[in-house]
Amino acid sequence: MKPFGYVRAGSLREAAAAYAAHPDPRYLGGGTNLVDLMKLGVETPATLIDVSRLPLDAVEERPGGGLRIGATARNSDVAAHPLVRTHHPLVSRALLAGASGQLRNIATIGGNLLQRTRCPYFQDVSKACNKRLPGTGCAALEGVHREHAVLGHSAHCIATHPSDLAVALAALDADIELYGGDGSGGTDDDGDGDGDGTRTVAATDFHRLPGDHPERDTVIRPGELVTAVLLPAPAPGAVSLYRKVRDRASYAFALASVAAVLDLDPATGRVRHVALALGGLAHRPWRATTAERALTGAVPDADTVRRAVDAELDRARPLRDNAHKVVLARNLARDALTTLTTLAATARRAP
């Protein structure tokens, strides 16, 4: 590991200012990903700006019934929080499906969203990797890529995003709140004119597809901080779930995962709202908008669900060694929608 300076930020403003003032800075959350990558030589910051003690760890109800989850809240505390468990249990489920008990105690919400890919070539500095060193090529294309992307990949990068939380946030149409950036100490360009130096980005727009720039995982700007995740109020009567398939039953990243929300019209049994997000398949959580369009307004019987899911996953372009992921994703998505349809019907019948 390269020697580095360490600054503990006491406030957002201080953190942004420290970022601007120091050479080659990185923000430090729990460090469960960053410290790992520093040991591997993948990350070589000259300065760590510790934001883990910023007073951003609250989970609060927002006016209108939504939730605000602070960026430095620990994954375990958010999963266990009464508001999260009762408003959006799939967020708890997604967090609890990730990592291990001891890692979740340290990992922060901001760090979870900004964790880097687990592509083994990205983590091995002796290998070609466009994400780590743009222009060097992609060793995974012809290498071991059983766990890599089947959707939205490019000739430059076939990595997947590893966060379970991000998949749940995509299905919930959450927003990510950001602060500062480019040393400005706050740009306040979310158009709300409140001058608090923040902007919000839809969770579905936060992570990127690799395209020509796989070195950029997200749309975050240099120096920008994640300050919170904003969740909308849950629709009354809507049901949701998070499911994850992996090589072992626990403590493993997703081969495929699904976060789904379903709201049926109680009178007709037709789909009023459906959100389907797939994880482990692409460089970002994959919002299955084609399937959603096919389902909206329809009665979600087995045939309709199959056709909708197929319409989405027919777009998959598996690599030499990961066609199994498409099958996994099809079955997972169908099963999720069928389970939710049953749940929604039961919830409707209940007094």
Binding site: M1, P3, F4, G5, Y6, V7, R8, A21, H22, P23, L28, G30, G31, T32, V35, D36, K39, A46, T47, L48, D50, S52, S76, A79, A80, H81, P82, R85, T86, P89, S92, R93, L96, A97, A99, S100, G101, Q102, L103, N105, I106, R248, A249, S250, Y251, A252, F253
Partner: protein, 232 residues
């Protein structure tokens, strides 16, 4: 190798880096470890695991993988379990740390800790390399369940009812302890040992081991090992 008591650098937390002066790469860290306060100057690169092992001589926490993938380095940090290999010591200045060496001291009425006794009774190890991490992890896991923290296998109904302790059944224990790999495959006995302490409470404090003869409620279901093996 990276801790140097003779480093001249200012503690970075207070350092006002002058224009184009590189920031200090070492600092002072005060930790309370197993009840004793230690103040050390360390290079910022030193992890809590290396600080404990190399500088405080506490070799209970083990370096299995050094990447968060095995749990052998698990300690209690401010009362919660954490992988000490991924914690930078400097980022935890002021923290309270308990390692396996300190479990006896946090046991009411004196140690060994009930979990340590249960591990002995149940023969919950072979080589013992993972054991210090398993023990600290189990202490943390039981506290989390008692505080009502859910897990991936907690039933829907319990998830929807915050504020109640989660019953540490065998499936709960297996899931909650999945962050600790055991290369010897002692999982069934580990889960039985932890389940014993749940049944006994902190009991069997008389140390005669007589409450170990009957399997705890989860013991049969606990026979299947936690799926595990290769690194993540």
């Amino acid at each position: 190798m990276v801790v140097s008591p003779t480093e001249h650098a200012e503690h970075a937390e207070h350092a006002e880096p002058a224009e184009d002066a590189a920031p200090a790469t070492a600092g002072t860290v005060t930790l309370r470890v197993n009840g004793r306060e230690h103040t050390l100057r360390t290079d910022h690169r030193v992890t809590l695991l290396d600080l404990l092992r190399e500088h405080l001589g506490l070799t209970g926490p083990k370096k299995g993988c050094d990447h968060g993938q095995c749990g052998a380095c698990t300690v209690l940090l401010d009362g919660r379990r954490a992988n000490s290999c991924l914690l930078l010591a400097v980022a935890h200045n002021g923290a309270e740390v308990v390692t396996v060496e300190g479990l006896a001291a946090i046991t009411p009425g004196g140690g060994p800790h009930p979990l340590q006794r249960a591990f002995l009774r149940r023969d919950a190890f072979q080589c013992g390399f993972c054991t210090p991490g398993q023990l600290c992890s189990a202490v943390g896991a039981l506290a989390e369940a008692a505080a009502g923290h859910p897990s991936a296998v907690t039933p829907e109904a319990a998830l929807a009812e915050p504020g109640r302790p989660v019953e540490p059944t065998a499936p709960e224990l297996r899931e909650r302890l999945s962050g600790n790999l055991c290369r010897c495959g002692a999982y069934p006995a580990i889960v039985r040992a932890v389940a014993d302490t749940v049944t006994d409470g902190a009991a069997d404090g008389d140390g005669d081991g007589d409450s170990d003869s009957e399997a705890g409620p989860g013991a049969d279901a606990a026979a299947a090992p936690t799926p595990g093996g290769g690194p993540v």
